[in-house]
Subunit: 346 residues, 2 copies
DNA sequence: ATGAAAGCGCTAACAG
DNA sequence: CTGTTAGCGCTTTCAT
C-alpha cells in the first residue's frame, strides 16, 4: 500500500541505507557485487525514490524551473518539450513558471519560486533573460541559472547562456526577398521589450544596406508579437501610396496576420505580395500558402540550455553555445510582379 | 543568505514552531492575538514555507499533476493556464505530465509519477481520462483524480469528473450549416481513440437526421486531429463527383487544413465552400477567413476540474459539472452558391 | 489554545 | 568500500 522506502531496500539487501543511496545515485564507491545485490532488491521491491525527501536533505531537489513570459503557445510547448527531454534523461524534474518579465519584483519572485521547492536552477528564456538588473539580483541570491538570448555572438559576460543569432536569420530572409527582386520590403516589428525584435530589425537593415537599398522609415511598423498587429501593420503598409511588394513579419504570428490582411484586401500571396515570417511555428506550415520563415528549434535550444544548467550544477564547466536559425523557403514568397501587371487592391 | 524557516519565525514571534505552522495552514485554533504576532513575524522575516518539507511530513505535497496526451499546443497551454490559476489561488503546486495514453503501463506510470512527489492528486484530461481499465487500477492504488471527459451528461459512475457536451456543440454547428441551406456537408473525423470524435460525429448525424437529411458514408472521412489530415480529407471530399458545399472539421486544426485545401484548389471560402471547425483555438481566428467554430474553454474546464480535485482532497463532497461549448459564427460559413452559379475547381 | 517530541525518507559528514 | 549519526523543514501525534 505504502510506497517502498530506501530502508526497505536496505533491509532486503542486507546493507545500510546509505549504501542503497549510493547505488541509487550512481556513486562509484560501491563494490560491483554489493551494487548488484542492491539493484536486485530495488527491482524486487519495485523501489522508487521519494523526490521530496531527496530534495529536502540534499543540496537541491533535482528539479529545474523553466521560466517564460510569452504569449506564443507553440513556442512554449516546444520549450517545455526540450526541457522535459533533458530532464527525463538526466533524472531531473521540471517545474514550469509563466511570469511577467516586467514586474519590478521579478528577481524576488523567481528567488522565492526557486527556494520554495529548492530548485536546482532556472532556465531563463527571452525576454526574462534580458532583464539584466533582475538577473544581477538573482545571481546575488545564489540561484543558478542559464539564459537563452538573442545575440550574434557569445556575450562572454561570465554568466552561462545559449545565444541565438536572430540578426543573421533576419538578414537571410531579407536577402532572400532582395534576391527575388523585391526592393520595397515592409518590416513588421515585434515587441520592444524583446531584444530579438531589435536584432531582427538590424538584420533587415543590414541586408538592405548590403544590397544597396536605403531603408525607409514608413516601411517599418511597430507592433507586438500578435496576429492582430500583423494584420493592422500589413493593412497600413498596403494602404501606402506606394505599397511594398514584400512584407517581413517579425514572427510567424505577425506574418499570419499580414497574410490575412493581404487576403482580406483581395490580394493573392505570393503573386501580389510576398510574405515571410520567422520561427517556423505550425502557423507557417498551416496557412495557405505556407510561409517562408526562419527555422528556430526552440525545443533543441532549451534542451541544450537545460543540459548546460544541470552540468553546471554538477560542478562542470560548460561553454556557451550559439545557434543559427535557418532560412526555410516556402510558397509565400516569389518574385514581384512586373510593374505593368501590378494589380490594385479592391 | 539561507531561506527563513518556520523556526526562525517561531523564535521571532516568541511562540512554538507548531503555532506558526497552525497560522500558516490557517487552522482556527489560534488566538487572534497570537495569530497577529505570528503574521507580523512572518512578514518581517519574509518567510516562505518550504514546499518539500511540508510535502514530506504531511499526508500529501500540496501539488497536483496535470496529465495529458495531446499534440495541440494551444489546447495544452489553455489547460495549463486553467490548472495554474486554480493552483495559484489555492496555494498548490503544479506538475505537468505529457504521456502516452495508449501505453500498457499507463496506470503504473501515473502511480509512480504521483508517488515520487507525493502528489495530492491528478487531473486527467482526454484521452487519458477515457482509458477505463487504467483508471480502475489507478483508483485501486488510491491515487485521487478528477477526469475531464466528453459526454452529453453526468456519467454518475462514482468517479468525479467534469464533462463536456461535444455532441451538442457538433449538433449546433451542423444545424447552423443546414440552416444556411447546405445539404451535402462533409465531416472530417478526428482520431479514433478520442471519445470526443465519436460524440462529435453523433452530433453531426443527429442534426442531419433531425433536418431530414440522410447521412452519406462518402462524406465522412477518417483522420487524426492534425492539419495534414484535414488537408487530405478535404481534398478527397472536393474531388468527389458531387462535392459537399460545406465541410465540418472535427477541430480547428483539421478545419485549417481543409481551408488550405480549398484555397489550394482555387476555391473561395465561404463562397465556394463553407468550412467550420471546433475548439475556438487561435487557428480559427488567425486564418482568413476566420473559422466558424465551437468555443470550448479548456482553461475554465481544467480550472474547474482542478478546484474539484483540491476540494476533494480536502475531504469535501463535490458534484460533477457539465460544460457546453457554444457556437461561434465567423466568416468561413455562408449559404451555398445557387446551383447555376457554382464554380468548378480549377 | 499551545507546546514537546517524534518522525516523513533521504543525504551530508564523518567515521571505520 | 561501507556504516553511523545527524539533520533537511515541516507536520503529526500527544501532552499540557
Amino acid at each position: 500500500m505504502k510506497p517502498v522506502t530506501l530502508d526497505d531496500v536496505a533491509m532486503r539487501a542486507g546493507v545500510s541505507a546509505k549504501t542503497v543511496s549510493r547505488v541509487v545515485n550512481d556513486e562509484r564507491s560501491v563494490r560491483p557485487q554489493t551494487r548488484q545485490r542492491v539493484l536486485r532488491a530495488i527491482e524486487q521491491l519495485d523501489y522508487r525514490p521519494n523526490l521530496l525527501a531527496r530534495g529536502l536533505s540534499g543540496a537541491h531537489a533535482y528539479t529545474i524551473g523553466l521560466v517564460y513570459d510569452n504569449p506564443n503557445a507553440y513556442y512554449i510547448i516546444a520549450m517545455q518539450q526540450g526541457a522535459l527531454a533533458a530532464c527525463d534523461e538526466l533524472n531531473f524534474n521540471l517545474q514550469i513558471r509563466p511570469c511577467n518579465s516586467r514586474s519590478p519584483g521579478l528577481a524576488e519572485e523567481l528567488r522565492d519560486f526557486a527556494n520554495r521547492s529548492r530548485l536546482s536552477g532556472l532556465v531563463l528564456t527571452t525576454p526574462v533573460s534580458e532583464r539584466t538588473a533582475a538577473l544581477r539580483r538573482l545571481a546575488a541570491y545564489r540561484i543558478p541559472f542559464v539564459r537563452i538570448l538573442s545575440a550574434a555572438r557569445d556575450p562572454r559576460d561570465g554568466s552561462p547562456c545559449v545565444y541565438v543569432d536572430d540578426r543573421d536569420a533576419a538578414y537571410a530572409i531579407t536577402a532572400h526577398l532582395l534576391q527575388l527582386g523585391h526592393v520595397r520590403i515592409g518590416f513588421l516589428r515585434g515587441g520592444r521589450h524583446h531584444h530579438a525584435s531589435a536584432e531582427r530589425l538590424r538584420g533587415y537593415k543590414d541586408a538592405l544596406h548590403d544590397y544597396g537599398v536605403p531603408w525607409r522609415r514608413e516601411l517599418v511598423i511597430d507592433g507586438d508579437y500578435v496576429f492582430d498587429d500583423g494584420f493592422r501593420g500589413a493593412r497600413r503598409l498596403l494602404d501606402l501610396a506606394e505599397p511594398p511588394t514584400a512584407i517581413f513579419g517579425c514572427n510567424d504570428e505577425i506574418a499570419a496576420g499580414a497574410l490575412a490582411a493581404a487576403q482580406s484586401a483581395g490580394l493573392q500571396v505570393p503573386y501580389d505580395v510576398s510574405i515571410a515570417g520567422f520561427e517556423d511555428s505550425p502557423f507557417s506550415r498551416h496557412s495557405w500558402p505556407p510561409l517562408t520563415t526562419a527555422r528556430q528549434r526552440a525545443d533543441i535550444i532549451v534542451e541544450r540550455a537545460t543540459r548546460m544548467l544541470i552540468a553546471r550544477i554538477g560542478g562542470g564547466e560548460v561553454a556557451n553555445e550559439g545557434f543559427n536559425p535557418e532560412l526555410v523557403v516556402r510558397g509565400s514568397t516569389a518574385p514581384p510582379r512586373p510593374k505593368s501587371r501590378q494589380r490594385r487592391r479592391r
